[in-house]
Structures are given as C-alpha cells and as structure tokens.
C-alpha cells in the first residue's frame, strides 16, 4: 500500500512537473520585418528615441491595437514578430512628412520581409556642412522644399554622442527663427551665424574627450518632428 502510494505520487508529480508548461508556452518569434522610411528611395534622417513610429496591425482578432514600430535616427526600422499577414501604416501626424499618399502596406511575413515606407517629407536638409575651426563652429545646408509650407526654426545641435536630436544634445542646441519665410520656398543655402565656444565648458570637455558630433535640424511648420542632416563628426 505504502509503496504503491509512493510510486503513484512519483508518477503524478513527474507528470505535473514535466508536462505542465507545454500547453501555454510557445517559441519566441524569429521572423523579422525590416525596412526604411524613404523619399525617392533615400532614407530620411530623423529623431530616433521612439519619437517616430509606424503602426503594425493584424486583422482577425477581437482587439485591434497596433504594435508600435520605432524608427531610428537613420530612418531604419526592424521588428521581430511571428509569421502572418500584417498591415503597416505611418502614424497620423507623426514624422516630418505630409499625409499625402498615406496608405496601408500589406506585408505577408514568412521568415523575413523587407519593406520600405515611401513618404513625402515637408523639407529635406541637403548638403549639410558643419566645420570646426578651433572653438568656432560654422554650419550651412541647402533647404530642399518638397511639400512644406513654412519653417518654424532651424537648429544646430552639438553633443558628445552620435545620438543627436532636438531633445538629446548634451553640448548645445542653437535655434535660429529669424527670416524663416525667406527660406520656406526652398532652393537656398542657409548659413548659421558663426558660434564661438571658447567659454563653453561642455564644448571644451567634449574636445578634451575627443568626441564631438554635430547635426542640423529643420522644423517644418505644423509638423510634430524635425527633419535632420546626417550626424557629422567634429573632433
């Protein structure tokens, strides 16, 4: 009786311990959707840091909440998710582009899917030049108007890391807002006033450390985000 009981217990225990988790557990997803946010095939320079996001929907379920897909500062995104049929769309009003041509992109995911998202930006920051001459910084860029109607501000951002945006800039952010109407039409070169950082503590620290990066940003009117230049190393 006792032995039988013990044997039974061991069996029951083994059944519980060894099999209990199979039913509600499945393997992690291994499929990827990758792509870039592009205009005429060129990826856009953006603010990373979860500021710009796309939304991924899957139909057929009771709830209809999207999965956020974050776009990094070079305009790239990547998401690891289960195989299936998805719909990808830009988030309304998010990103320095118009809602022109905003449409759902069907993605049939089996393994890996590469899908660029074509948008029409308000402006582009072309041919950005940032140069350092000792403690002085000069910067200029070509304002390329695509679908914009006005410019709120242009910014020169300096930092000790290459993650630079209107919110992340541990050395300096310098805004110019005058005469923006003159540049709203595009096709002009914008030149920032020369900045002297001789007495700027953080700038000097950055130079001593040997890491200084610069980036130019343009904030279109009515946009929730700025459009950027590539990050330029200045040390």
């Amino acid at each position: 009786m006792n032995t039988l009981f013990k044997i039974c217990s061991v069996f029951i225990l083994a059944t519980l311990v060894l099999t209990s988790c199979r039913k509600d557990n499945y393997d992690e997803p291994e499929s990827f959707i990758k792509g870039r946010v592009v205009y005429q095939g060129e990826p856009l320079q953006l603010r990373g840091n979860e500021a710009v996001r796309l939304q991924l929907y899957q139909r057929g379920y009771e709830k209809h909440d999207p999965v956020d897909v974050f776009v990094n500062q070079n305009g790239e995104f990547s998401i690891c998710i289960f195989d299936g049929q998805y719909q990808l769309i830009t988030k309304a009003g998010n990103g320095p582009w118009t809602s022109e041509g905003r449409d759902t992109i069907e993605i049939n995911l089996r393994g890996t899917a590469v899908q660029d998202v074509e948008v029409v930006p308000y402006y582009l920051v072309d041919n950005a030049q940032i140069t350092r001459n000792g403690n002085q910084i000069n910067a200029s860029f070509d304002v390329n108007k695509i679908a914009g109607t006005g410019i709120d501000r242009v910014m020169l951002l300096l930092g000790t890391t290459q993650f630079l945006s209107d919110g992340e800039h541990n050395v300096d952010r310098y805004d110019e807002t005058e005469n923006m109407a003159d540049y709203a039409g595009g096709g002009k070169t914008y030149t920032f006033a020369t900045r002297d950082y001789t007495d700027h503590q953080m700038f000097q620290t950055a130079l001593n450390r040997g890491t200084l990066f610069g980036r130019i940003a343009l904030w279109p009117s009515g946009s929730d985000q700025a459009i950027y230049s590539p990050v330029i190393r200045l040390d």
Binding site: E62, A92, G222, D224
Partner: protein, 624 residues
C-alpha cells in the same frame, strides 16, 4: 447500536432537507439598496447627490499637487526628465462615463419618487443635469467631441446587440452646444440662492459653466484655424470648430458672464487699507478663506475632520513643517516675474517684467530680501511665498548662500542646508533654495501660498487641511466678459473690456489699463488664476502653448528658472549684510534638464485603443 446511528442520520437528513426552505434563511441584503428604497427616502436621495459631487473633481486639483508641475507654474524637488507635455493628462474618460451613467440612473429614478416634493425634485434634477454638463465639459476640453448619451441608460443583457450602445463621437461644436444648452436648462431648475461654502450648484454656477464653455468654444474656433494648425482637426469635425462660430460663442460667453456680474450675489472683495500687504491679504482671503467669502461661486469643499487633503502637509516650508513630507513644490521664476510692478508706467502695465538684479560681477544690493517682491502686483504676495515673506505669522527664511568678496570679486559660498560659517553666520538656510540630491528642499526660492492652509494642525497628516478647491470665482466672470468683449469688438480701447479687466486690477491693487489686447488678457488670467487649474486649458484654447513652450533650452518661457537669494558677507564693505539675487536654471542644475515643450500633437488627448475596441465607431484624434 447501528440502528441508533441510522436513526440519528435519518433524523438529521430529515431536518436538513425538510426545513431548509423556511424563512429564517431568507434575509434581505443589507449592503445593497434597491432603486425603490433609495428614491423612497429623502435622506438617501440627498446622499446620492453628495456622492455625485464627490466625483466632480477632475483636472488639476489641490489633492494632486505633483501634477501641477506639468505646466509652467511649479516644479517639485525630485529630478524629472519629462520632455513633452503629457497630452493625456487630466483626461479621465472611464470615470466620466461611469459618472454619466449614474447621473442618468438618478434622473430616471427620482422622476417617480414620492418621498420628496416637486420643488425639491426639480432642484435636484437641475443639480444633476448641471453636474452632467460639467463632466461633458471636462471631457470635451481634453478630447474634443465625445459620444453624447443624453438621458439613455445602458443595461447590457447577454445576447443583445451591443452596436446599439455604441455611439459615435459628436462634433466639437455639437458638444459645446450641448453643454451650453444643458447649463441653460439646468439653470431654469436651479435656485439663485447661495449655499454653505458654495459647494453645491445653483443658477449662477450653471451660468459660469455656460460662460466658460462658450468662451472655450469661441477661442478654439478663433485660434485653432486650418491655416495655423493644419493637422489639428478631424474630417468629421470631432476636433475643430468652424471659425465663423466664434462670434456667436463669444456673445453667449459675454451675456452669461455679464449676468453673473450684474445680477449675481457675488461681489469682489476689497481691502480696508490701501497698502500692498493689505491687498495681498485680501487676495489670499478672496481665494482661500471660506468665512465671509463673497467671490467664490463654486468649489470642491473639504471638511475637517472627515474629508481633508494633504496639500499643506506636503507644501509647507521645511522651517515650519508640521509633519513628515514638506517643501514639495517650488514656484518657477517665470510665474513670479509675470506679476507686474505696482507703479508700472502705462506701456509697462499688463505684462510681466524681469527683476533688475544686476550681474554677478556688478550685483544690485537690497536691504531686505522682500524689497524686490513687495513692489510687485500684490497678488504675487497673495499667491506665492517669496524670501522673507511671512506665513502663519512666521518669517520664511530662504537663503541659498553667502556672497563674499575675494580679491575684489564677488564669490558664492554655499553649504549643506542649515549650515553656518566659522563666525556662526548662516550659509544656506534650512529651507534652501538649493540644488543637489537633497530631498524636501526648495529649488527656486519661491513657495506656493495659494491653497496653503494656516489653520493650526492643517499641516499634520492626522488632521489634514480642509482648504477648498475653487472651480469658479466672480473674478473669472469679469475676465471672461473682458475677453469676450474685446474679441467681439477687436478694439484695443473697447470700453466694456477695459472696465471689466480694470475692476479686477483695482481690487488686486495695480494700476488700470488704458488699452487692452490678447497679450494683456492672457497675462491677467495667468496672474489672477495661478495654481487654480486653469492655465493649461487656457493655453490650449488660445493655442499658445506651442509658442511659449517651444522646447528650446534658450527660450525664457520654456525654462524653469529660480531666483536664489544670497546674503552679503563682506565686513567693512558698505554692502555687508545686504541681499543679492542670482538667477539659476533648473536645467543647468540637472534637476529638470528638459525645457517645456508642446507641439500641435499635445493639444488633444488620445482616444485610447481600448475605447475603440469597445466602440469601433470612435474616430481617433489628430496625431494618433
């Protein structure tokens, strides 16, 4: 033996099975009251109404002081890295619709009640309809158009078609029209008498909401234009009021506000003496003192003992703290300097002015730390505790450090809180202001005075404070009338507008305006209603937040600044013992590293995905 057991068992079985249905097991539930019971008893009906009032406190409130730091009035002492204004702040959709359901159940249930006479019934219905309008207003100011359920009560029984319960959002215009008409209808049922501490709705409260709602709708129509904010509207009009509607709404607002001013029982309070201190005390009393108050029209009242809050406990200066937790909020310099000089020249009136403090190399010296602030609009002294001011009869000492002369140059010397130098002279005061990791310390040099309770023991956790939270004051009626009048005429010398705004200014103790404009109206509202929960909704209806909170660390209106007082310690120097002020940026001190930031995307709250799952007829808001 066995037979006896069998007998006992059968007896027990018989007792259990045959008797189980008798009455003694049938008791009425003692925790649930039925509709008939509730509406059959006048006391119970009144308690239901009390419950409704207890759920009307939405938005910025005296019980949730940390949320005050969302806007450009105050900061707390902890580090905070928030960058954007939280668009979903003060949006309480689920709470609001729960309450609307309960209000509608009441309206249905009280109809057939025979326990109260018809006059009482009408008054109750008026109050409940007013509360419902208030709730819709609180929803609409944050979300735009929302589903209007009217008097419907939704009771779900399994198997029914739920799509009949799914109501689409109204347009923003229709929502404000509904609120205004409900206020007018409720007003017909409500008494014109005032009540204890003005905690319950009457005719004038409904008029005030009508005025505020109409002014909100009017400003949104005028300032949220497709040209200036192209994306800030939806196709169905759930967000975005047509510009041509502005005029009608301004007229409604003006008429309602005028009626309250001219016919209502509320009067502006004036001091008995003509001194800045008397004006300051008078302003504090007009907002914060319940006894003899003639300015407050509707408030959320508290009672001690019983229903109190901990605002005073958490916000008393350390030096007069009564319990654990103090010094929570510090007021930013931007608000302090918005209070204009008392003797401002004509062109300086109606706008803030920076303090003339000199520079560190060439500072200005003051005999008393209060000198700088006593020359300002007395409402500053009535709303904010500045260095050397008194509260509850005690002087509030604020000193960031000493200013010493070394080699002919002025140098700051600071220490830990409550530290003294070799000669036993104070270096840094117990209250601060100071940076660093210290907790319960002032950061900017200023404390909140408004809503701070000087009643003995009001700052203890055990008792708490019974300071009310004001919703409507007569001063708002004046400023609504002034604003609506100016918006309608577009005339900077509009006599009606000037009369109403100058009534407020003369009761405040500042000189009258000779001309009025949008900037001056915004300024007057800022200083009059500081900390009263109006600021964000006003910045929104004027579409002003994205202009002043531009996220630029070098824009003054986007910065969180402090003004730290230093005592001059320079024996032999003529300025020894005097005071000097130095401006400090909370971003540079690494306390609040990000400036205020708002773009068009932050003006309207998000329609939550969960709500859309439950009601697919809801359309999303812009930027979502």
């Amino acid at each position: 033996m066995k037979k006896r057991y069998l007998f006992a068992a059968s007896l027990a079985a018989a007792m259990l099975t045959l008797n189980s249905c008798s009455d003694f097991l049938n008791t009425k539930p003692d925790t649930i009251l039925t509709q008939d019971q509730t509406y059959g008893d006048p006391t119970l009906i009144k308690s239901v109404i009390a419950n409704f009032y207890g759920r009307t406190m939405l938005g910025q409130k005296v019980e949730d002081w940390d949320a005050w730091t969302s806007i450009d009035e105050a900061i707390y002492y902890d580090r905070n890295e928030t960058e954007y204004f939280d668009r979903n702040k003060w949006c309480d959709y689920d709470h609001c619709y729960d309450l609307i359901h309960d209000l509608n159940v009441f309206l249905e249930g009280v109809k057939t009640s025979t326990a109260i006479d018809d006059a009482t019934k009408e008054a109750y219905i008026g109050e409940v309809r007013y509360i419902r309008a208030w709730i819709y207003f609180c929803l609409g100011r944050s979300l735009g158009g929302v589903p209007i359920v009217g008097d419907q009560i939704f009771d779900y029984t399994p198997g029914m078609d739920i799509s009949t319960m799914q109501i689409p959002r109204s347009t923003e215009t229709a929502l404000y029209d509904y609120i205004i008409s409900e206020c007018q209808e409720a007003g017909k049922l409500l008494t014109t008498e005032t009540n204890t501490h003005n905690a319950r709705a009457n005719y004038w409260v409904a008029k005030m909401l009508e005025a505020r709602a109409a002014l909100t709708a009017a400003s949104l129509a005028r300032y949220n234009t497709p040209e200036a904010h192209p994306q800030l509207r939806t196709q169905g009009g759930e967000v975005g009021i047509p510009a041509e509607k502005a005029e009608g709404y301004y007229q409604t607002a003006l008429a309602a506000a005028k009626e309250v001013i001219e016919k209502g029982p509320y009067k502006l309070m004036y001091p008995t003496e003509n001194t800045p201190q008397a004006y300051a005390d008078n302003f504090y009393k007009a907002v914060c003192q319940k006894d003899g108050n003639t300015e407050v029209i509707w408030c959320f009242d508290f009672v001690a003992p019983g229903k109190t809050h901990q605002f005073t406990t958490n916000n008393l200066p350390k030096s007069i703290a009564q319990d654990t937790g103090c010094d929570r909020l510090s007021v930013i310099l931007g608000l302090v300097e918005a209070f204009e000089p008392i003797d401002a020249s004509e062109e300086e009136r109606g706008k803030g002015a920076r303090f003339d403090i000199g520079t560190i190399d060439n500072p200005k010296f003051f005999d008393n730390p209060t000198d700088l602030f006593m020359e300002r609009d007395p409402r500053l002294n009535g709303s904010i505790i500045f260095p050397g001011a008194t509260f509850g009869g005690q002087t509030i000492e604020l000193q960031a450090g000493q200013l010493r002369k070394e080699n002919g140059k002025w140098v700051e010397r600071t220490g830990a809180r409550n530290s003294y130098d070799e000669e036993h002279r104070l270096i840094t005061a117990n209250n601060g202001p100071f940076g660093g990791n210290e907790r319960e310390i002032n950061r900017t040099g200023f404390y909140v005075r408004k809503y701070l309770d000087a009643t003995p023991a009001a700052g203890t956790i055990g008792r708490g404070s019974d300071m009310w939270n004001v919703h409507f004051r007569i001063a708002e009626a004046y400023l609504i009338a002034a604003e609506a009048s100016w918006e309608l005429s577009g005339d900077n010398y509009d006599e009606t507008a000037l009369k109403y705004i100058n009534d407020i200014r003369s009761r405040a103790g500042v000189k009258p305006l000779t001309s009025i404009d949008h900037e001056k109206i915004m300024h007057e509202n800022r200083v009059e209603f500081a900390f009263e929960g109006q600021r964000w909704w006003q910045l929104k209806r004027w579409m002003e937040a994205d202009k002043i909170w531009d996220g630029n660390p070098n824009t003054r209106t986007a910065q969180r600044l402090g003004l730290w007082p230093y005592k001059v310690v320079a024996p032999g120097d003529p300025n020894d013992g005097k005071w000097v002020f130095i401006e400090k940026n909370m971003a540079t001190l690494d306390l609040w590293p990000k400036p205020y930031h708002c773009t068009d995307a932050q003006y309207y709250a998000e329609i939550n995905n969960g709500w859309i799952n439950n009601n697919p007829k809801l359309v999303k808001n812009p930027f979502q």
